[in-house]
Every structure is written in C-alpha cells, then in structure tokens.
Amino acid sequence: VEESRPISVEVNGIAFRREVSVRTTLADFLRHDLMLTGTHVGCEHGVCGACTVLVNGRSARSCLMLAVQADGESVTTIEGIAPSPTTLHPLQQALKDHHGLQCGFCTPGMVTTLIEFLRDCPKPTERDVRVAISGNLCRCTGYQGIIDAVLRVTSTKDE
C-alpha cells in the first residue's frame, strides 16, 4: 500500500485539505486531484519549464516538487493569474496582442515565470527578458513574440 499523508495547501486563494500519496508530484496533484489542468507537464525533468507555478510567489517546477512539500504553502497556477473571467492580466493580454503564443502548451509556464520576473524587474531590457525565459522552452514562437509582449507591457519599447 502506498504511503500517503494529509496536506493543507492554498491554491489560487482557496484552501484545500487532501490526502496525497507521498510520491505524487505537485504537478500531478494540481492536475489530477484539483483538476487544474492549466499547469502542463512537458519533460518531468525540470528542463522545459512548462509546469512552472508560483509557490509563495516564487517560481517553482511543479514536476520536481512533491505535493507533500507544498503542505502549508500558497500556490498560484495559471488559472489564478487573470483578475476576472472577463479581464486578462496585462501580461496575458500583451501575449495575446503580440502573438506570444501559438500552440499554447508552454504558455502557462511562461506566464508564471514572467509574473515573478516582472515583480523583481519591472523595467527590463530585451536581454533581461531573454535571460528570464531561458529556462522555458517554446517550439512554436521562436520567442520573439513573447519578448515583444513583455517589453510592450513594461513600456520599455515604443509602439
């Protein structure tokens, strides 16, 4: 019988108490137990960045973190970024406006990574942005649309 433990975790502002297998990753817990499938799993090695979520505001690979390690913590996923069902976060809107996504599979990890980055670095240069997303792989966009979106949202690049 698999060992399991109870955890208490806040996800997108909602408190959850769940019994989880000790080997369940945070990504699988979010996706399978809470049905928050916006967090995507691309490599399960911490390489591609698609599964990135915010844990207490810090970006974390949810494929490399166990659900039991999130006990007592506050997690924000892509589902918790937009302020309302009718309004996108400015970063999400900028990605939409500047073709910052195509298939959209890497997008949740890009957004969560960049939310943390823009909080720490509100006026980045293009190089800063490139370094910030260097741990998030995208195969469709060639990255330029994503970088354009970030620079427009921070107004460091003129229209």
């Binding site: 698999e2 892509i78 589902e79 999400q92 996504l101 298939c103």
Partner: protein, 345 residues
Amino acid sequence: MSLIGNSVPRLEDEPLLRGKGRFIDDLHMPRMLEAAFVRSPHAHALVRGIRKDAARALPGVHAVLVRADLLPHLRNEFIVVGLPSKDYKQNVNRPALVADEAVYVGQPVAMVVAENRYIAEDAAALVEVDWEPLSPAADCSAALSPGAPTAHRGSPHNLLAEFPIGYGDVDAAFASAAHVFKESFWQHRGGSHSIECRGTVAASDPNEERLTVWTSTQMAHAALRVLCDMLGRDEDSVRVVTPDVGGGFGPKLVFYAEDICVALAAIILGRPVKWIEDRLEHFVATTQERDQHWDVEVAVDGEARLLGIRGTLIHDHGAYTARGVNLPYNSAEQIAIGYELPRIE
C-alpha cells in the same frame, strides 16, 4: 471583414492564456485507467518469452497485454501507411506489439493498464522479458554493405527503396563546367520535440457500439482510417477527436503502435484508457528526422553560375515504414527550389 491585410485575433488564445486549454492529458473521465509500455532496450533482439505474473499481481493493475491478447481483436495487426510507392523493395510495416523480434530501442512489447500511471510504471518494471540480443543495423550507410547485419532477421538486405530524381542533361553540364566541386555531408538525426509529447485516450461505448479515440495528432482522418482497417470496423463506429495539440512538427502526422494499443485496451477492458508519452519515450519511440549521407558534386561555369548538381543520398528510413519515401524524396528534390538550377540528378 477582409482577412487579407488585417490582423485576425485567434479564438484559442484566451483559453490557452487562462490555462483553460484542453490538451490530451487534460481529458479525465469516470473509471479511466492509465497505461504504460514495456519497451525494447535493444536495437535488435529476439523475445524468447514474457513473464507478466509479477506485474499482474501488483494491486491496482488491471491488465498486462502482449501481442497474443490483442490479436483476437485485430483484423490486421500491422499499421499500413497509406503512401504507396513502386520503389519499395520490401514491406516493413509496424506491428501493434512485438511478436518475437524487436527491431529498435523503444519498440513496445507489452502494455500495462492500471489505476494510474504511477502504478502502471511500477508494474511495467516488473514485466520480465527474456531477450536474446542480435546484431543491429545502426548506421544506414554501413547497413548497405554486403553481408551487413539486417535490421529484420528475415530481410534479404537493408535497402528499403531506391529511386532517381532529376531533370536535364547532367553529364553535359559537368563536361562543360569550368569548375567542379565535390563534397560529402552527414546530416545527423534530430528529434522534433513538441513541448507536449504524444498521447491517446480511448473509450468504447458498448451501447452505441462506438469507439472514440482522442489523440494528439496532426492527422485525425488518417488515424480514423488506420483504426478502421486494423480493427475491421466501419468509419461510422469509430470517432477520432483531436483536442488542443501542443506542437506537432511532423511526428504527430504518424499513427503509432501506442494509438492502436490504447484503443484495444479500452475495448478489451470496457473502460476508458489513457496513455501519455513521457519525454524519454518521445526520444526513443517517436519518429525522428533524417540521418542522411550525401555525396554530391556541383558544376559551375566561369562566373560561378550553377550548371548542375549530381550525387547520391542514403536516407535512414528506420526499421519500419512509419511514413512513406516522401522524406528522402523531398530532401533531394527540394535542393533545386532555392536556386536557378538547370540540371540535377
């Protein structure tokens, strides 16, 4: 509104940006089971036996399926690609599961279906396959040498197909050339690596006698046709659904052994079954590009204008036909596209 000259907003952007996309692994349904595959660790090996008792005995495991379990449900156990060519010298179609000879690293030999993927992988590790390694054909150039080990035991040689392409009098071009340059190139193999790997979910509805297969494919209609051919069913009893696809880049054009196995598991077990490819599987079990050896000569006039190109291309087709001979055909033919090239052979 004219679509020409206007930026057209994409309908899918908003749900994708909110985490509300619906990719293959986002599908959940009641009573759904998850699958993991046991794969060949050898490039070429005989399967002397498969012992599944230990895997089957693991709590949470519903089935360990091998070829013999699938055959009663198949009209044709091979995946026949619908790209015929008169240039084939042998037919090497992929089976659903290995019969007695695995011919590439990663080839599926057994399928475990369990309550969840964690248990399925535990059980897959308990499936004991008695392997007898054989000599592989690992380099497509060396594989053409007389007496080279064959990729398949029963094959007379490793040449799958041979064909010319070209136009114009190439010999005349070289005879009149001011300069001729000769070079050999090795275009190495590459993986396409969509950030979303492959994945398939299948559910069989006995009330309506309908099989529904959701799969991360670029070609839903081809998948439908292959499923019907293999299962011996009419198209109105099978439905193929493509959810949001997280990148394809070519490999998702292909119908794979895992797709038919997931469909069969859903039919055999009477429950929805999901298989999601992990990245390691994508490295070994998903189609890749090239491994091509080129020997080419180019003829130019005194002002370096192209007169002609001639040469040979050896293309690694893999152990099976997962796609037609269009890949080497396109490689050779498209050399001419970017240039004013009067002659090629």
